[in-house]
């Protein structure tokens, strides 16, 4: 995925100006920056929720003109939201099956007539979804509704839904927010695993520096919509501009 010269303004304020960012396949690319720096907006551009005023988005070399969110899954991309965005009135399993929807082939007619093929596919999808749930260790909750589940579990359901699409580019917006230390470590391992074993490239927005520094191969730092630094963690960590704008004096 390659974003170049992205500029976004909302009414008066400039959320992004001429931001360049390229994700190297199979690596984890961190995006950090103060609140309101434009990180989520950058994701929104990459997902087609926000149409940039200027700049180009290209994927695997070829340029994407008008990108719509619903094209995303088709392009092998998946994203988790800064909030949870779970489907509250269907079971956890169903939530994940929706994520896997891009692999379904059944047409309207098949559904309407409940053709055997459709039923078979349904079962296949459910099994696929179940696998993902088990991989994230939340298989036990498959039949529950998200509403009353503990927060970390819900975070994982959201992640599972994204993984069920079997993307090769995964965008995670603050996946660790609100998680305890233990869960955060597991998350870190998971993300690294995705990149290492499954060669999935990951774009990661986080405010938890230790996590970011641990899992990212490369980091882009935004401030007031500008890219003020980018490069490997160690470089960024000690970049004075970053220290001033983002990390503040003492790093925790």
């Amino acid at each position: 995925m390659e974003l170049s010269g992205i500029t976004v303004t909302f009414g008066g304020i400039t959320a992004l100006s001429e931001v360049d960012l390229a994700v190297v396949p199979g690596t984890v690319h961190g995006v950090i920056g103060p609140n309101g720096a434009g990180k989520t907006t950058l994701f929104n551009v990459a997902c087609g929720f926000v149409v940039p005023d200027a700049g180009t988005i290209s994927r695997a070399g070829d340029r994407l003109e008008r990108l719509h969110p619903h094209d995303l899954a088709g392009l092998g991309m998946a994203r988790t939201l800064q909030g949870l965005g779970l489907f509250d009135r269907v079971t956890v399993l169903e939530n994940v099956v929706v994520g896997a929807d891009r692999h379904a082939r059944t047409g309207f007619l098949g559904s309407l007539l409940g053709l055997p093929g459709a039923a078979r596919e349904e079962r296949a999808l459910r099994e696929r979804a179940m696998e993902v749930l088990d991989r994230l260790g939340i298989g036990a909750y498959a039949a529950r509704y998200p509403g009353s589940l503990p927060y970390p579990v819900r975070k994982r359901v959201a992640l599972a839904r994204a993984l069920a699409a079997e993307p090769d580019l995964l965008l995670l917006d603050e996946p660790a927010s609100g998680l305890g230390a233990a869960d955060m470590d597991e998350l870190g391992d998971l993300v690294r695993g995705l990149a290492a074993e499954r060669a999935i490239s990951v774009m990661l927005v986080e405010h938890h520096m230790d996590l970011v520094m641990r899992v990212c191969d490369e980091i882009t730092v935004l401030d007031f919509g500008r890219r003020i630094a980018h490069g490997p963690p160690d470089l960024v960590r000690n970049d004075p501009a970053v220290l001033a704008a983002y990390l503040g004096e003492e790093v925790d």
Binding site: Q82, L84, F108, Y145, Y151
Partner: protein, 389 residues
């Protein structure tokens, strides 16, 4: 036994067909054992049920409120009426119904597309306007659509083979009203099987996803517009079939038969029965079909004058609506299911608060008290740190 259970869980179509078969048997038994009058009442229950079934899919599964389904029924009814203008109008009834469905479906596409971007009260307003506008069209085109008087519907004679079949199966002659009732209920069963298939399959899942969270649904590759329009079209088609059946039962398609009241009646049936549940839709239809007459009769028996009794019936009707909403906010089916669920919860603890077993009904949606209003979204106290709101 276990094999059977796995099959039951596995094959959707098989399950629905089995239920349909059972339903069919029940229908035959009931219709054969009840008077002509009851048959006709049951026929009206059936067409209300069909329309309600379509609406419950739209509102319950896709979250679109429509106050205009009466208008869609009108379109189905007028189509049927135009095709059945005299005894020897060649078109066989099944074709008539299909035609009615087709025409309504087209209208559904247009309206659905226009409504696809609307939400909550804005959608309600648009569909409400639709409900009052359509009868006006019938008034305006007097020549073609018969104006205020509407179009008479002439039921073609019952085909000989049907008569024979009926006699063969039941040993009784098939009266016209019973014939109509059979038509209506057959249509209902077919419609419900199809709706059940949809709502349990991929399409239904997409509808639910869009209902619960548009952004997340879109990210999963679902086109919001398509999902919403398809839901609208499906329920429109059902309304069309219902309209055709209504025309056949009432023997008339007239504007005053399709006032806003009809649309609201449908919505009421759906909610009272239990949103998103076909069984609920049927229950609601039954309630609204039989309640008025029952109340009136009770009133008369209680010594009221006919007029007082007549005025009593809407009063009770309204009170029932209020009562159900206050006492059983999830509708009859929904509340029953919740009660069931509560019991299981108490037995097995929270670890498995999975709702009732897969039934003929789409859903089980909305676990107890998961609100859907913006107002309510925040009152679920479940710790949600998503700083999205």
């Amino acid at each position: 036994m276990t094999a059977l259970r796995t099959w039951w869980a596995g094959s959707l179509l098989g399950r629905h067909l089995l239920l349909a078969l059972v339903g069919l048997v029940v229908v035959v038994v009931v219709l054969e054992s009840s008077s002509d009058f009851r048959n006709l009442q049951l026929a009206s229950m059936a067409y209300l049920g069909i329309a309600a079934g379509g609406l419950t899919v739209l509102t319950g599964l896709n979250g679109q409120i429509s106050l205009g389904h009466g208008a869609l029924m009108a379109i189905g009814a007028y189509t049927a009426a135009l095709l059945l203008d005299d005894r020897d109008a060649g078109t066989p009834l099944p074709l008539v119904v299909l035609a009615a469905i087709a025409v309504t479906l087209l209208v559904g596409v247009v309206v659905g597309a226009a409504a696809a971007r609307l939400h909550g009260p804005y959608l309600a307003g648009a569909t409400l306007a639709l409900a009052v506008a359509v009868p006006g069209i019938a008034l305006y085109f007097k020549e073609e659509l018969g104006g205020e008087q509407g179009l008479r519907v002439v039921l073609p004679d019952i085909p000989a083979w049907v008569l024979d079949l009926a006699f063969f199966v039941t040993g009784q002659d098939l009266t016209r009203s019973r014939y109509v009732a059979y038509l209506a209920w057959l249509t209902l069963i077919v419609t419900f099987v199809l709706l059940a298939n949809l709502s349990r399959g991929r399409v239904g899942r997409r509808w639910r996803a869009v209902r619960d969270d548009e952004v997340a649904a879109e990210l999963a590759g679902i086109r919001l517009g398509r999902a919403r329009v398809s839901a609208f079209v499906v329920s429109a088609a059902a309304a069309g079939a219902a309209g055709a059946m209504m025309a056949v039962t009432v023997r008339l398609a007239a504007p005053s038969g399709f006032t806003i009241t009809l649309s609201l009646t449908l919505l009421t049936a759906v909610v009272l029965g239990g949103l998103g549940s076909l069984t609920g839709a049927l229950l609601g239809a039954a309630l609204l079909t039989f309640l008025p007459q029952v109340v009136t009769d009770l009133g008369v028996d209680a010594g009221l004058s006919d007029i007082q009794a007549a005025e009593l019936s809407p009063l009770v009707y309204g009170l029932v609506m209020v009562a159900v909403i206050l006492l059983a906010p999830a509708g009859l089916v929904g509340t029953a299911r919740t009660a069931l669920l509560r019991r299981r919860l108490r037995r097995t603890g929270p670890a498995s608060d999975k709702p009732g077993p897969a039934s003929d009904v789409p859903g089980p949606d909305a676990p107890p008290a998961v609100p859907t209003t913006p107002t309510a979204a925040t009152t679920t106290s479940t710790t949600s740190k998503g700083t999205t709101t």
